[in-house]
Symmetry: C2
C-alpha cells in the first residue's frame, strides 16, 4: 500500500472507531487510562531502549543539547508521564452533560448534549510525552486521535504507541481509535490537513514554523497555541511594589512560556519611579531590556543594566528568553492602541489602583485573557482550574485561552417530540 | 488603488472599527438597526430603481425565472426586510454576559465575558435581503462585517449599503464597521479567504458551488450551512399515523429547505404497513420515490405512484425537491450505520414507541440535531427559540445547528488580582 492510501485508511479507521468511542462509558475510558499509566511503567525497559536509539541517532545527526534534552526519556520522566495520565483519568468526564434543556410552547422538549468532536489529529515535534498526553486527553473526552510525531523520536513514539494500543485493547476499546503516522513526509501531512471529512480538528504543537505550516495549509479547523506576545501596562496609579513584583514574575518565572511577559508599557507619570526599580529587580536575572527613547532616557541613568535601543521589530516580538521591550506611553489610550496593534490576543495585564482605568482596560483590550494586578503567567489550564490542557488558543472561534477536556468537545441538539410536525 | 490594495484597506478599516463596536452600548446598536429599518422604507424608491436595473440586466443575460425571482425586490419585500431588522433589534444583546465567574483558592477572581468575534466576512449570492440580514445580525452582536454579494445584484446591494451606512452614521457608530466589496473577481475572494489576521469568520451563503469554494480555499474559520442530507428512520414500533404525518411534513412542508427529508429508512417489520400509507400520502403532492429493491417490492403493488429504482447516488443525496429515497433496513443498527455512512450531520429522526430504540438513536447518531417523533423541519433558529439565525452549522467546532446571535460571539477570560504572582 502506498503512503497516501495508508494515511487515508488510518484516518477512515479512526473515524469508524470514533463512533463507538463517542459514547463509551466513563469507567471504561478511565480504565483505559489507568492501563496506559501502568503499561508505561511495566514496559519501561522497552520504551527506554527505543529512546536510547533515538538519542544516538540525534547525537550522530549533531542535534544541539537543548533539543536533545527534549527527546530524552528517563525512568523518572516516564513516571511523571504516567502520573499525568492518572490525573487525566481523575478529571470529570465532559461528555454526556445535558444543558439548555427546556420545553417549547408547542410541547417539543429541546436541549443540548455534550459530545466528542470525533477525530483529532495531533501534529507535534520532539517531546515524546505529547504522544501520551494528547492520547490521554483525547480518549478521556471520547475522541479518536491521529498522531503524527517528529521523526527524531520515531522509535520512542512507536514503543509508546504499542503500549497505548495494548492498554486500550485490554479494556475493550477499539484500538483503531489511536492511529500513528510514522511518516516524515510533509506532502502527506499537507494531505492530512485537507481531510475535513475524516478529521474534525488539528492540534499542532511545536515551533512557530510547524504551527504556521499547519495554519496556512489546513482546511480542517486548527487550534494552535504556543505563541503569545504578552504586554503588561503599568498605569500612572499603579502600586510600585505590585508592579515590580508582577513584572518580575511575568518575565522571570518561566521565560520560555507563551504567557511570559514580552513588553512593558509604562505611563509617563510613573516611569521615573517605576522603571529604575523594575529594571534593578530584572537585572538580578540579567534581563536585557530593549528600550524606546523615553525609557532609555530614564534607565540610562542607572548603572549596570543590560540596555539595548528598541527597534520597530521589538514591538510585537515574542522573546521566550530573558529579554523584554520597554516603552513609555502618554496615556491608557496609547497603551490600549499599542496592544491592539502589536498583541496577538494571548494575555494582557494592567497594573493600576484606578477603578476606571481597570474597567476600561478589561473592556477594551481584546485577548484570550485580560488581567488586573496579576501576572500573565496564570494563563494555564491547571492554574485556571480546568485540569490538564491541550493547549492555549489565541483564536476566537470555538474556545479561547486554555483548552481543557471540555474544549475538545462539541454538542448536539436533542429534540423529543410526540408526533410534532411544523405548521 | 488596485483591487487588492483596496480589499486590504477595507478589511483593515473593518478591523479598526470593530474595536470600538465590540463594546458599543446595546441601545446604540439597537438605534442603528431602527435607523436601518426606517431608511429602507424612506429610501425605497432609490433601492427599487437600483433593483430595476439589476432585473433588466439579469433578463438581458437570460437568467432563468427562479433565479430572477430571488433578486427581485418589491415594496412589500422591503417592508418584510425592514421588519426583520426590527426583530433583530428586539432580541437580547448577547455581548457583555459574564459567566463561569468564581474565586480561586489563591484569591484570584476569574471568569468569562462574552465578546464579539470581531470581523465577519459574508460571501453570498443573488438574494439582496442577505445584505441587510447579515449586517443587522453582525451589528447587533458587535461584529464588523465585510460584505461580498453576488454581481447580479450589485446595483441593489450598493443602494442598500448606502442606506445602511447612513443609518449607522446617524447614531454615531463608525461606518467603517460595514464594508462592501463590489468585485466579482474570484481571485480577490480567494485572497480574502486567507486574511486570517483581519477576518475572524467567513460565512458563505448560497449554492453548493460557492460553499465548497469557500471551504476549500479558506484558512479563516468558516461556518457553512445550507446543505443537509436528512434521514427519518421509521422503527418497527412506530405509530403508523405519527410516522406518516412526520414523514409527510418533513418532505412536503418546504422541500427546498436544508432540513427537509431526503431518505426514509424503514424497519422491515413495519415496511408492509407503513410504506403504502406513507407513499399514498406523499403521492398527493406527486413526490417521486427512489426505492431500494425491498421497498420497491412493497410499493410496486400500489398503483399510481411515482417510483424509480434507487441507485447508489441516491444515498446521501440532498434532493431539495419533491423526491425522496426509500430503503428497508433489517435493524436499528443498520439504520444508524446507514446514517453514519451517508448523513452529513444535519438533522436525523427516529419514529418509534420503543424507549430503548429512541435512547440508542439519540445516543449513537451524530448530527447537529437528533429527533424522536418529530419532523426534521424544526431545525431552525426561530423554531429552536434563538430568534434570527445566521445559518445552520453542520460542523462540530464552535457552534452546531442553528446559529443565532450568541453563536457569532466569543468570550474572553477576565482575571482580577491584587498583586498576584505565580509561585
Amino acid at each position: 500500500m502506498d503512503a497516501l492510501s495508508e494515511l487515508k485508511m488510518k484516518c477512515r479507521r479512526a473515524r469508524q472507531a470514533s463512533r463507538r468511542l463517542s459514547y463509551a462509558a466513563t469507567p471504561v475510558k478511565n480504565a483505559a487510562l489507568e492501563a496506559m499509566a501502568a503499561g508505561l511503567i511495566s514496559h519501561k525497559d522497552r520504551i527506554l531502549e527505543a529512546n536510547a536509539i533515538d538519542q544516538i541517532e540525534a547525537r550522530n545527526a549533531g542535534m544541539n543539547p537543548a533539543m536533545l534534552d527534549r527527546l530524552i526519556l528517563t525512568e523518572h520522566r516516564l513516571e511523571v508521564i504516567a502520573a499525568d495520565v492518572r490525573c487525566v483519568a481523575a478529571l470529570p468526564d465532559p461528555v454526556g452533560e445535558f444543558f439548555d434543556m427546556r420545553t417549547l410552547p408547542n410541547g417539543l422538549v429541546i436541549g443540548k448534549k455534550r459530545v466528542p468532536l470525533g477525530v483529532i489529529a495531533a501534529i507535534y515535534e520532539s517531546r515524546p510525552n505529547v504522544t501520551v498526553d494528547i492520547t490521554a486527553l483525547c480518549l478521556k473526552s471520547g475522541n479518536a486521535v491521529v498522531l503524527r510525531g517528529g521523526k527524531e523520536t520515531l522509535n520512542t513514539n512507536k514503543a509508546l504507541v504499542e503500549v497505548i494500543i495494548a492498554a486500550i485493547e485490554s479494556v475493550g476499546i477499539d484500538s483503531n481509535a489511536v492511529q500513528f503516522l510514522d511518516t516524515a513526509d510533509r506532502a502527506l501531512v499537507s494531505h492530512l490537513l485537507k481531510m475535513s471529512d475524516q478529521i474534525d480538528l488539528v492540534i499542532p504543537r511545536g515551533g512557530t514554523g510547524l504551527i504556521n505550516f499547519v495554519k496556512e495549509n489546513s482546511t480542517v479547523p486548527v487550534v494552535a497555541g504556543g505563541a503569545g506576545v504578552c504586554h503588561t501596562y503599568v498605569d500612572a496609579s499603579a502600586k510600585i511594589e505590585n508592579a515590580v513584583a508582577i513584572v518580575y514574575n511575568a518575565k522571570i518565572q518561566k521565560p520560555s512560556a507563551c504567557n511570559a511577559l514580552d513588553t512593558i508599557l509604562v505611563h509617563k507619570d510613573i516611569a521615573e519611579h517605576f522603571l529604575p526599580k523594575a529594571a534593578a529587580e530584572l537585572n538580578r536575572m540579567s534581563v536585557e531590556l530593549h528600550c524606546d527613547p523615553r525609557s532609555m532616557g530614564v534607565l540610562s541613568k542607572s548603572p549596570g543594566l543590560k540596555l539595548v535601543p528598541a527597534v520597530e521589530d521589538d514591538w510585537g516580538r515574542e522573546y521566550l528568553s530573558l529579554t523584554a521591550a520597554v516603552k513609555v506611553v502618554d496615556s491608557l489610550d496609547e497603551a490600549v492602541d499599542h496592544i491592539a496593534a502589536y498583541g496577538d490576543g494571548h494575555s494582557e495585564a494592567i497594573i493600576t489602583e484606578d477603578y476606571s482605568a481597570a474597567s476600561r482596560f478589561m473592556n477594551e483590550v481584546d485577548a484570550a485573557a485580560v488581567y488586573v494586578n496579576a501576572s500573565t503567567r496564570f494563563t494555564d489550564g491547571a492554574q485556571f482550574g480546568l485540569g490538564a490542557e491541550v493547549g492555549i488558543s489565541t483564536q476566537k472561534m470555538h474556545a479561547r485561552g486554555p483548552l481543557g477536556l471540555r474544549e475538545i468537545t462539541s454538542y448536539k441538539w436533542l429534540v423529543y417530540g410526540s408526533g410534532h410536525v411544523r405548521p
